[in-house]
Amino acid sequence: MLINQFLFLGAILFCIGVYGVLVRRNLVLVLMSIELILNAVNINLVAFGAMWHATDPANLSGQVFALFVIAVAAAEVGVGLALVLMIFRNRQSIDADDVDLLKG
């Protein structure tokens, strides 16, 4: 089975996600960029999982790992959105550059 195309898609998504985290100033978009990285991980895991499953039917670790990543990512983003909402209530802004009280 050829899995190159999945890995390329994963790598491109990963790069877009990392770019977004580093460059975007809107906190919601930063969260979405992190989701892109996690989805790149899932594509990788499922592609590799399918590859190993083809040679060894008992090997399902990749798919199981992807399920764990999906579940935990949901919990993570839940907390993240709550934090962003709290910041918005206290500051009326979700620009990452405005969050700069602590320095040095």
């Binding site: 990963f14 790992f65 993570e76 602590l102």
Partner: protein, 498 residues
């Protein structure tokens, strides 16, 4: 196609500590749901008792002494896991002691706070036993997600919001990068079990670039957790903004959990490729020591100073890993010296935060100047803080000297040039570090109180108990280091010395 499913055999004795902490968590939830606001004080007692009760099965497992392997090798309860679980439980207990008055007087959510601490400690305990990429990931998130919320606990305070947000963004980004590395490792080895990964990545050609990438990404993910330079930027801000007991928790327990994961991954999973991670750790360690110490020199806030000192201490702890691959003795020395350092660091750093908390109850500030004249009105606290600062600086008889000695021994036992150079860097940095520890001591002992207010500090019993515990441990281990090595000597990690 059908698959037969066999229920895995579960060793309940081995899982008893985790089960007790999880049960305490459930009890706390119920107590929180069925009692009124005026009985919320019970939460901290229940949490503390739960953490202490969980030590009983750890003692019985240690007495039994057999290594218990469960779930096809994915969950291992051995001496290494037991020592670290005891460390996490005791640090969790001290943090509960430190939180009791702070949280009760601060009009914060009390029940939920202790649930978060217990969930996070549970994640750390699982981390100590996890020998599988999936369970390491789940443990990491179980210990991190409650910590993000705890950092932002004072939710109407802008600084606390900021602390939580910075910690969250850095932590989640790091774990996403780490996961990408794990997915590549899985792709090349077809297994998430560390014991299976080691021989398979060892058998691959040493020039497989994607495996190198995977290992580097995983190490970087945990470098964020242990606040190694250049991934440390969140730490000082989060430490300053978060409630002080939470800062103590993050600086000690959370950092220790990061090291535990790093040790397990590098020694069990990525051992055959130590040619990849050794240089990486070397650079991280040297940069962490220098940057941490030099920035700590110009801090005027005690908590930020402790944050940067904690970054530098993480650099000392990383150092033995950079030469661990030289020989089996070097590997075993590195493992032991890091575990010993973690245990001693926990005692002295928690103690230092306890003093800062006690002083801030009167001065309402953590600026260095507010510690002026502390000796004139709180001699007991001053002596305690001096012991902790001596220990952090590595001066006998406080326990820190023994931790540092272990690092030097591990670096020297490798017998390589890079090891000796790193040992010199550790020595240089210990001298630099004494400058800022000494300055705080001078302020406490020599200067006058800034506002002339020399009324004594009333220290609540819970902080006193935490101080007695940490001072006692720091002094006794400094005088009788055999008490530490008695527990750490039997430690082995599976792939070491293979």
């Amino acid at each position: 196609m059908t698959f037969a499913w066999d229920a895995p055999s579960v060793d309940f004795h081995a899982l008893a500590p985790e089960i007790i902490v999880a049960a305490t968590l459930v009890i706390l939830l119920l107590v929180d749901a069925f009692t009124g606001e005026d009985q919320r004080w019970a939460s901290s007692s229940i949490a503390g008792i739960g953490l202490l009760v969980a030590l009983i099965p750890i003692a019985s497992l240690a007495y039994d002494g057999t290594t218990r392997i469960m779930f096809g090798g994915g969950y291992v309860v051995d001496n290494y896991a037991l020592v670290l679980k005891a460390l996490f439980l005791l640090s969790g207990y001290v943090v509960v002691l430190l939180s009791t008055n702070y949280i009760a007087e601060g009009d914060y959510w009390e029940g939920e706070y202790y649930q978060m601490i217990l969930a996070s400690v549970l994640g750390m305990m699982v981390m100590a036993s996890a020998r599988d990429l999936v369970s390491i990931f789940v443990a990491l998130e179980l210990l991190s997600i409650p910590a993000y919320m705890m950092a932002a606990w004072r939710k109407r305070d802008l600084k606390s919001d900021e602390a939580g947000l910075k910690y969250y963004l850095m932590g989640v980004f790091a774990s996403a990068v780490m996961l990408y590395g794990m997915s590549v490792i899985y792709g090349y080895t077809g297994s998430t079990l560390l014991a299976d990964i080691a021989p398979k990545i060892g058998a691959l050609a040493t020039s497989t670039p994607l495996v190198t990438l995977g290992i580097v990404f995983v190490v970087i993910g945990f470098a964020f957790k242990v606040s190694a330079v250049p991934f440390h930027t969140w730490a000082p801000d989060t430490y300053e903004g978060a409630p002080t007991p939470v800062t103590a928790f993050l600086a000690v327990a959370s950092k220790a959990a990061g090291f535990v994961a790093l040790l397990t991954l590098l020694f069990v999973g990525f051992w055959p490729r130590h040619d990849v991670w050794e240089p990486l750790i070397w650079v991280l360690s040297a940069a962490t020591m220098f940057v941490g110490n030099f920035i700590a020199l110009r801090q005027t806030n005690v908590i930020r100073m402790l944050a940067y000192s904690g970054i530098a201490q993480a650099g000392y702890m990383l150092a033995p890993l950079a030469v661990a691959g030289a020989s089996p003795e070097a590997a075993s020395q590195a493992l032991h010296s890091i575990v010993i350092y973690l245990v001693i660091y926990a005692a002295m750093n928690l103690g230092a935060f306890a003093v800062v908390l006690a002083v801030a109850r009167k001065t309402r500030s953590a600026e260095s100047d507010s510690f002026g004249g502390l000796f004139s009105y709180a001699p007991g606290l001053t002596v305690c803080m001096s012991i902790f600062l001596f220990s952090l600086a590595g001066i006998p008889p406080a326990a820190g000297w023994f931790a540092k000695l272990g690092i030097f021994q591990a670096l020297a036992s490798a017998g390589t040039t890079s090891g000796y150079v790193l040992a010199v860097i550790v020595a240089l940095n210990s001298v630099i570090a004494f400058a800022y520890y000494g300055r705080l001591m001078r302020i406490m002992w020599m200067e006058d109180a800034p506002d002339g207010d020399v009324s004594p500090i009333r220290v609540p019993w819970s902080i006193t108990a935490a101080l007695v515990l940490t001072v006692g441990v720091t002094l006794v281990w400094g005088v009788l280091p055999g008490l530490v090595t008695h527990f750490t000597d039997p430690i082995t990690l599976l792939a070491v010395g293979r």
